[in-house]
């Protein structure tokens, strides 16, 4: 990290906090839930690897939970090896993203039925498709410029965690260009829930195809073509869903023969 990297001092961005604050509000902040949400945020790249978390009192306040609850949650994360605490000067609690995310993701995917994955795809298509259509109707030139810049950041992203962040940012900015705080929040929630799964088995060629598709979407928005914009966004979601369903089918097959571990050894494109 460069000496000017502010994220190390600031902790979570406001967007990252908003992404999991709402679910916490509903469940009165139990420590295991807080731990699970923080673990998800780490997996999703909302909190970066090696990032220093804010002091406990500050973080507890940000998340709207008591210091005691937060301390318990951090103990859980420490046990899971997701954070580490260093004492002394320059010390604090640091994020330690797991080197290999794939085993955890495969376990998570196993909890989905095929129907559940299709339903997830339907929900995402409804949100992203509508956001794209409305953005094409409503976006002003400077908003289109922002989207184009975000596509360039996505193109430049190399690691899995950078791509996840850039793609999440793009998706959120399309919903913002649709002038809809609700769709923006919904995209953020969907990403917080399943954003990591979308990147399973995405290789470099897939990434390039995705960048091209995002580029076409921005062009449709710029030309004010609502229906093509919606179709492009839905198509993107459909491809994600097909990939996930294929992967889920293979896990069923390998589980039947007790060979699921094979999948964990393969290059699944997640770094």
């Amino acid at each position: 990290m460069s000496e000017w990297d502010e994220s190390a001092h600031l902790g979570l961005t406001t967007v990252a906090v908003q992404a999991f604050l709402a679910p916490l509000d509903e469940a009165s902040g139990r420590a295991d839930l807080v731990a699970r949400r923080l673990a998800e945020a780490i997996r999703l790249g909302l909190i970066l690897d090696r990032e220093r978390l804010p002091p406990e009192t500050k973080l507890a306040e940000q998340l709207g939970v008591s210091t005691v609850t937060l301390r318990e949650a951090l103990a859980v994360l420490r046990e899971q090896g997701l954070v580490t605490t260093r004492r002394g000067r320059g010390g604090g609690t640091f994020v330690q993203a797991p080197a290999d995310l794939v085993p955890g993701l495969v376990r998570r995917l196993r909890r989905f039925s095929i129907h559940g994955l299709r339903d997830l795809g339907d929900h995402r298509a409804a949100v992203s498709g509508t956001a794209a259509r409305l953005a094409a109707e409503r976006a002003l030139p400077h908003e289109v410029d922002n989207l184009a810049r975000q596509v360039e950041r996505l193109r430049a992203a190399t690691t899995g965690s950078e791509r996840r962040r850039a793609d999440t940012q793009f998706t959120i900015e399309v919903a913002a260009a649709a002038q809809s705080p609700r769709l923006t929040r919904e995209e953020l929630r969907l990403r917080a829930e399943v954003g990591d799964l979308l990147w399973l088995q995405l290789d470099a060629a897939d990434h390039q195809a995705s960048v091209r598709a995002r580029g076409s979407l921005v062009e449709a928005i710029e030309r004010h073509e609502p229906l093509p914009a919606r179709d492009l966004a839905e198509e993107h979601v459909r491809e994600d869903t097909t990939r996930l369903v294929n992967l889920r089918l293979r896990i069923y097959e390998l589980d039947r023969t007790g060979q699921a571990d094979q999948l964990l050894g393969q290059d699944t494109g997640v770094s």
Binding site: W4, E6, R138, D145, Q179, T184
Partner: protein, 230 residues
């Protein structure tokens, strides 16, 4: 033409309030300039002295202003290339510091120098009203940003700015708009609906350029458009 003479009437109250916010931003900007030009180049910590003024802006305009602060021109501070001393009011009413990613290499880099509320006043060196837009980096509310360039001579130090809730503006103008017997639109200078008495023209929609140039309201550059001419 039916509506043009009435833009001041419709906006009278809200323009008065926004004028007051701008006046407070001038004060904030003045204090920012004092800090930025006092001897050594400032650092992030130097700007902490502005917090009482920023909190004062938030408190004075509660319900209208959701966030306020100063944004430094790149390179102004000696310990951070870019910085926002920005505070927003949470539901509980307490000010919360905005945290955004200011690392240019990061995929979620918050590049405020490309935002309209920074870019335009940087060029024009004049007060600017931007939006409405979805403020996804902060409150996620539908927002209008007021920004004031802060200078020391020729040199741009940054901006003093405040986020106004679009819903609060609607509340202040719609009573007057509703009294019109035909559809009218209060539109931003770049052609976005801020408020309208017509269900056909809800906030956020783009309007086509009006056939006749509409009179811009003082201060905010908003126009009142007769929807039947679109």
């Amino acid at each position: 033409m039916r509506v043009a003479p009435r833009v001041r009437e419709v906006l009278g109250d809200v323009v008065g309030e926004l004028e007051q916010v701008f006046a407070d931003l001038d004060t904030l900007g003045g204090r920012f300039a004092d800090i930025a030009t006092a001897g050594e180049p400032p650092q992030r910590e130097s700007l902490a002295a502005l917090r009482p003024t920023i909190f004062g802006v938030l408190a004075a305009h509660r319900g209208l202003v959701a966030g306020a602060g100063v944004i430094t021109a790149p390179g102004l501070l000696r310990d951070a290339p870019r910085w926002l001393e920005w505070w927003w009011t949470k539901a509980a009413g307490t000010p919360e510091a905005l945290r955004v990613n200011l690392d240019p290499a990061a995929p979620d880099f918050f590049d405020y120098t490309t935002a309209d509320w920074y870019l335009t006043p940087e060029r024009t060196l004049a007060r600017q009203v931007t939006g409405p837009f979805v403020d996804y980096a902060c409150t996620n509310e539908y927002t209008i940003t007021l920004s004031v360039p802060v200078r020391a001579g020729e040199r741009l130090l940054g901006m003093a700015a405040a986020d106004v809730l679009a819903a609060s503006v609607e509340q202040r103008v719609l009573g007057t708009l509703a009294a019109f017997d035909h559809p009218v639109i209060l539109a931003s200078a770049d052609g976005r609906v801020i408020a309208s008495n017509s269900p056909r023209w809800t906030p956020g929609l783009r309007i086509p350029p009006p056939s006749e140039p509409a009179e811009q309201a003082p201060l905010v550059s908003w126009t009142l458009v007769d929807a039947e001419t679109l």
